[in-house]
Structure formats: C-alpha cells, structure tokens
Symmetry: C2
Subunit: 162 residues, 2 copies
C-alpha cells in the first residue's frame, strides 16, 4: 500500500493556506489582534448591538469560540457587552471608541496584506480563486445544517451524497 501525495488533497492545502495566512497576518497586520478577532470587530462595525450567536453566524465561529474571542476583546476594552433588556438571555455587543479605531487601522493593513497574499496570482486568477473558495466553503456549510427543505420534495431531511 503506497503513500499518497498530500498536495492533491484539498484539506491539506486548506490547512497550509491558513497557516500561510496566519504568518502574513502576524507580520503585516497585528500581533495582538488576530484575524478572527478582527472579524468580530468588523461584524459589530456593520451591525452594532448584535448578540454573540449572530456574530458567530456572520463571522463563521461557533458559540464557544465566539465566547472566548468576545471575552478577549472585552478585556482589552475594544467591545462592551450589556444584557439585552428585551431578551434576558442575550448580550448586546458594541464597539467602544477604541475598538472602532483599531478596526479602522487594521482595515487598512488588512487590505495591504490581502494584496501581498494574492500577489502570486494574476488579477483574473485572484477572482477565480475567491470564487472557488467561496463555493466550496458554502457547499460544505450546507451539509452542516441542511437548510429546511421548505415545501415540496421528498421529506428526507439531509441528502448526504455518500
């Protein structure tokens, strides 16, 4: 039984891609604020007052991870959380003034980093790359929560293609 060439495995390449990105991020964007943390700041910039679950939905983090990330951002004074008066289960999250400032600074640097990260590809290839990344990620996301088969069709909830 022979070994396999990992460079033909999308999962292996996905991990390497993320590591490569991590490296670039810490050198070009920030050593204190991580990429997921920036994602949370960005989500709250777009929609102030979100609760943790929804932030997780926007950024692609599960409840536990959101709790940790939010905890760190709170400790650094970049966001504040207050109980939702409407629904006592929720926290309402908002950027502080400092948080908004950090978001702005990092947004500029992140743009520069993205430029470098994609530099090995031509303009056309970059567009294709992003499109393919999105499609594969989205498709796998569907398999997670099989999107209620609203209406007709056979009632079989999850068509697992394997």
């Amino acid at each position: 039984m022979a070994a396999v060439d990992l460079s033909t495995h999308p999962g292996h390449l996905a991990r390497r891609l993320q590591q490569a990105h991590y490296l670039l991020w810490t050198t070009m964007v920030s050593e204190e604020i991580t990429s997921p943390q920036y994602g949370v700041l960005n989500a709250l910039m777009a929609e102030p007052g979100l609760d943790q679950r929804t932030v997780g939905e926007r950024v692609g983090l599960d409840r536990s991870t959101v709790a940790e990330v939010v905890g760190r951002l709170g400790r650094r004074g970049l966001i504040e959380k207050v109980r939702d008066t409407e629904d006592g289960r929720r926290f309402s999250l908002r950027l502080t003034g400092e948080g908004a400032g950090v978001h702005r600074k990092l947004t500029v640097r992140t743009a520069r980093m993205n430029h470098v990260f994609l530099a090995p590809l031509s303009e056309a290839e970059q567009a294709v790359f992003l499109d393919l990344l999105r499609r594969v990620s989205d498709a796998a996301e569907q398999l997670r929560s099989p999107v209620g088969v609203t209406g007709a069709g056979d009632g079989d909830a999850a068509h697992r293609p394997w």
Copy 2:
C-alpha cells in the same frame, strides 16, 4: 468608516474552508484520527525512519506540533519512536503494523471525502482550485524562510514586497 465584506478576504475564506474540511473529515473519515495525524502516518508510510523535524517539513507542521501529534499517535500504538543510533538528538519514527492498517483504511475514506468536498466544482475547476491553492500556499511559505539567495544578485536577503 464602513465595515468590510469578509467574503472578499482570502484569509477569512481559508479559515472557513478548513472548518468545512474538518467537519467533513470527522463525519466521513474518522473521529479518532485527525487530518494532520493522518498526514504524519502518510509521511512515515512513504519514508520509514524519518525524524520529527523532517516529518514536520513533509506535512507542514512545526516542531512543537509534530511533538504533540507524534505523542498521540505513539500513545495509540500507531507509531514507534526509537533514538537514532547515528545521531543521539533524533528519534527515528516508524509505523507499527496497526498504524499501517489504519493508514490504509483512512486512505480509502479520504479519497471518498475529497470527492465530496470538491463536488461543487467541475472537473476543470477542481484542477484549477488545487493549483491556485498550492501556488498561494507555496508563495507564502517562501516568505517565511527566504530560500538562501545562492550566488549573485544584490545581497539583500529578504525582499519583502511591502
């Protein structure tokens, strides 16, 4: 200052891609053996007797992470490590019989999983996708260890394009 659309950020998509892969792996391949662990088994199948540093190079893991992963695989009896008699700093790593069996079983399942993972793309797109992933990851890897400028050229060690 407006918020940004994360779906245009390759780093964000890289993270989501890896999460998607993780999900598929645990459901379709194994809940016990992770993808990086499989990578190590595969490297040792290809080249028995490797030391940890080299395994890390093959699989894309740093020394610390290799140590952890190797520790887990050793505890499960899938690999064995013995001091290299030539060089007392190194351990020589080998698959056990059980390790080889696990590798074989997972190799089959991994192929099936890769198929599902890439299913949203056409054959042609899949090839392009893997190529782009490889090129971006490799390029960023270079920035890490700037590959000794062997010979001529201006002596400037690392051309950081930012």
